[in-house]
Amino acid sequence: MHSTVTRTQNVFGFFTTVCFIVAALIASTDFLFPRTPSASITVKDVQVVKGRPHYYSPKREEYASIRFSLSADLSSLFTWNTKQVFVYVTASWPDKDAANKSVRTNEAVIWDTIITSPSADHLQNIGLAAMRKLVASAKGKAIDPNRGKLELKNQKPKYQITAPTGKLAETDDVQLNVHYNVQPWVGVLTWTPQVEFGRWKRMKGGLSKVFSLPALKKKEEKKGEKKKA
C-alpha cells in the first residue's frame, strides 16, 4: 500500500471479491421468495391449412393454427432479482403410431411473450410510444407484480406449427401447456419446475384439455361459392 498504484490495485482487487459475494447473496435470496404461479388455458378455434415453410419452397406442409384463452397469475415470480419472465405456450402430442400414447414426443411453441420488471424496461425492443407507456405503467415502483397477471381471450397464436413429416391434420391427444422461464439479474435461469423445490411450487393448472386437430380445411368450398355467385 506504499504507492498510488498499489493502493489502486489492492482496493480494486478487494472490490471484485465484495462484488462476487454480494452477487451470490442476491442470487441466493431467490429461494426465500415463494413461487406460486397458476394458469388456466382453454383451446378455442383450431384450424389446419396447407402452406409452405417460405415463399420459394416447393414443399407443402400442413400448419395448425390454435387459438386459445389464457388466464395466468405469475405475479409471485417478480422479486427484486427478477429481470424478466419469458412465458410460452406449447402444444404437444404423441406420435401417431407410438405404442405408448402418454409419451408426448412432439412439442412446439405456439405463443410467447416477455414480461419485464420495471428495472429492465429499457431492454424491451419496442417502439418509443409503447416504451413510454410501459415505463409509465410502473412509475416509481421497483417491482410490479401486476405485470405477471395475464388475461388473454381467444388469442391468435404467434406461430403456426407443423411436424417433421409435414402431416398434422387429424392428430389426436394434443394438449396445450403453459411454461415460464425466470431470468434473474444475478443467478441462474429457472424454468417451470417439474417437482416442488422448497418454496417453489409447481404450476397450478397450466394444462388444457386434450383435443384433436381437425381435418384439413378445404379451399374448394370457397371456389364453389364464387362460381355460384
Binding site: 500500500m1 506504499h2 498510488t4 465484495v18 442476491i26
Partner: protein
C-alpha cells in the same frame, strides 16, 4: 531546475505514504468495502430494489477509492526518522544475533 520539477512530479504521481499510513490504508480499504457490500445488500433486500443496491455498492466503492488511493496527509503522520547524515556509526551499537559489532 528541470530535475527538481521532475522529481516533484514523480513524488506526487507515486504518492508514497509512511508505514503507519500503509497499515491504515489497508484497514480502511478492507473495512469500507466490506461495510459497503453489506449495506448495499441489506438496503436493497429490504427496499426490494436491485438498482438501489447496485448504485449504493458502486457509490461506496468510489468513495473508498477517493479515501484510500490519494496520499492524504493523514497517511503521512508518522514519518520515518532516519539517522542524521554523516553521523558516526561507531558511536551506535549495532547488535546482530545478540553480539555487538562495531
Amino acid at each position: 531546475m528541470a530535475d527538481q520539477i521532475l522529481d516533484k512530479v514523480r513524488e506526487v504521481a507515486e504518492g508514497q505514504i509512511d508505514f503507519e499510513g500503509q497499515r491504515l490504508a489497508e484497514f480502511l480499504a478492507t473495512a469500507l468495502l466490506a461495510i459497503v457490500g453489506v449495506i448495499s445488500f441489506i438496503v436493497g433486500f429490504f427496499i426490494q430494489d436491485i438498482k438501489l443496491a447496485l448504485f449504493l455498492g458502486l457509490g461506496g466503492t468510489a468513495l473508498t477509492f477517493a479515501l484510500v488511493v490519494p496520499p492524504w496527509p493523514f497517511f503521512n503522520r508518522h514519518p520515518v526518522r532516519w539517522l542524521p547524515v554523516g553521523s558516526e556509526v561507531s558511536s551506535q551499537s549495532i547488535v546482530v544475533d545478540g553480539k555487538f559489532i562495531g
